[in-house]
């Protein structure tokens, strides 16, 4: 067992974990953060995407011990003060999900994408989501949702609301 201390969705947590435990398993099984899901075993599908120190990672491809000291944000931690994250809002508005299993990872990766490039083109959105698989939507409305969120965010920023 190895002692780890990290911040998950804003809360400090301390645990003893087996070194082999994957970050996603730690989130789900020990912290009950079941919003983050496991879709594959080869880091292909991106369903488990979370933010680790501000960058998107596939949490099935990171050991919990590697996240020691880090700040982790999951789909359960991106809404603020009861208000949805603009991407959560956009995914619903644009019908960017059907079964919803890929959605947490898709939203977390989209958030990373917009953080690096607030005004992406369609091609940039598609490339930015190349590591996330969805079997339901054909991606069309996901791409639309990311643009919608980008537009909504820039409208807010341009309006000086922030």
């Amino acid at each position: 067992m190895t002692r780890i201390e990290l911040t998950v969705d804003g809360a400090k947590v301390v645990d003893d974990v087996e070194p082999r435990l994957l970050l996603v398993q730690y989130l789900r099984e020990q912290l009950g953060k079941t919003g983050t899901v496991i879709g594959c075993d080869t880091a292909s599908c991106g369903a488990c995407t979370v933010h680790l120190d501000g960058h998107s990672v596939k949490s099935c491809n990171v050991l919990a011990v590697q996240a020691d000291g880090a700040e982790v944000t999951t789909i359960e931690g991106i809404a603020t003060n009861g208000e949805l994250h603009p991407l959560q809002e956009a995914f619903r508005e644009c019908h960017a999900l059907q079964c919803g299993f890929c959605t947490p990872g898709m939203i977390m990766q989209s958030a990373d994408l917009l953080a690096e490039n607030p005004h992406p083109t369609e091609a940039q959105i598609r490339e930015g989501l190349e590591g996330n698989l969805c079997r339901c939507t054909g991606y069309q409305n996901i791409v639309r949702a990311v643009r919608y969120a980008a537009d909504a965010t820039s409208a807010t920023t341009d309006g000086g609301a922030a």
Partner: protein, 288 residues
């Protein structure tokens, strides 16, 4: 699926890491983990000890080599996304930048590292051919201190490099290529898939008209990354027309032994190499 149990150590210095490696006969070095963890999860390996070198600060960073004539040293544990964000690399080592941009997907590029990828030595990895083409030097630390191995001697076989079991790749040095043009041509079936093959080309033009020097690396055309030296030589002095470059590149697959798999057989790969090499060289020459 969870990996089989292992002991875990997280050294904070290269010496500490080397000590751990020396003390175990079944240790595996964990760099960014983007290839290793899948293998451990599938239980195709179950080492006794995993040495996580992710917290050795000395292994991270991009710096100019003092007195190196524009040479750049990249710490082995520098993640891809930091390489991509570096202006120095984008302007000075464009080929590396472009190849790194093609690795995996954004999440993988946040965790994956240059050194981890080179030490893993997957023939389909994007960085090997580029390191070879750019004449990189690998800095390897071991019980006897550091040694420097040129890329030509680094890749020894499938998944096998000059890094011994008790050694660590600590940095990669790239000579500067001011004024060269480059292009990394990667051919995939789906965006995040491994390349069927890829060709990295780097070209220097004399007076903007003829090729004065060329360096070409091949990805997944054999058990190791390869350099297409005969084509490089044939290109020298050539005016880069499609016909001339195409004729020179027709021999690019000579002497290679590409794999056959579900994505295509060896003959198809040999053919693809000629097409991609032509395109890469023409683009590199145009951009020079």
């Amino acid at each position: 699926m969870i990996p089989a149990p292992f002991e875990y150590a997280r050294p904070t210095s290269v010496d500490e890491a080397l000590g751990l490696l020396a003390g175990s006969d079944d240790a595996k070095v964990l760099a960014g983990g983007q290839s290793l963890l899948s293998v451990l999860r599938m239980r195709l390996n179950a080492p006794e000890l995993v040495v996580d070198i992710g917290r050795i600060d000395a292994l991270r960073g991009i710096r100019e080599v003092a007195g190196g004539g524009g040479a750049i040293e990249i710490g082995a544990m520098t993640p891809y996304h930091e390489i991509l964000a570096s202006d120095e690399i984008r302007t000075g080592l464009r080929l590396l930048h472009d190849a790194v941009a093609e690795v995996g997907d954004p999440q993988v590029r946040h965790r994956g590292t240059l050194g981890g990828s080179l030490a893993h030595a997957d023939p389909a990895g994007d960085c090997g051919a580029v390191a070879l083409a750019l004449g990189a030097e690998m800095v390897i630390a071991g019980p006897g201190g550091e040694r420097v191995v040129p890329a030509d001697e680094f890749f020894q076989d499938l998944f096998t490099t000059a890094v011994g079991e008790d050694e660590l790749l600590v940095a990669v040095r790239f000579p500067g290529y001011p004024g060269w043009g480059s292009r990394y041509e990667k051919f995939v079936r789906t965006a995040q898939d491994w390349p069927i093959i890829a060709v990295g080309a780097c070209v220097r033009m004399a007076d903007g008209k003829t090729i004065s020097e060329a360096r070409i690396g091949l990805t997944n055309m054999g058990p190791t990354p390869l350099r297409a030296r005969a084509v490089e030589e044939a290109l020298v002095g050539m005016t880069p027309t499609a016909e001339a470059v195409g004729a020179a590149c027709a021999a690019v697959a000579d002497g290679t032994s590409p794999p056959s798999d579900l994505n295509g057989d060896a003959d198809y790969r040999r053919h693809l190499a000629t097409v991609l090499a032509r395109r890469a060289v023409l683009a590199a020459a145009g951009a020079a």
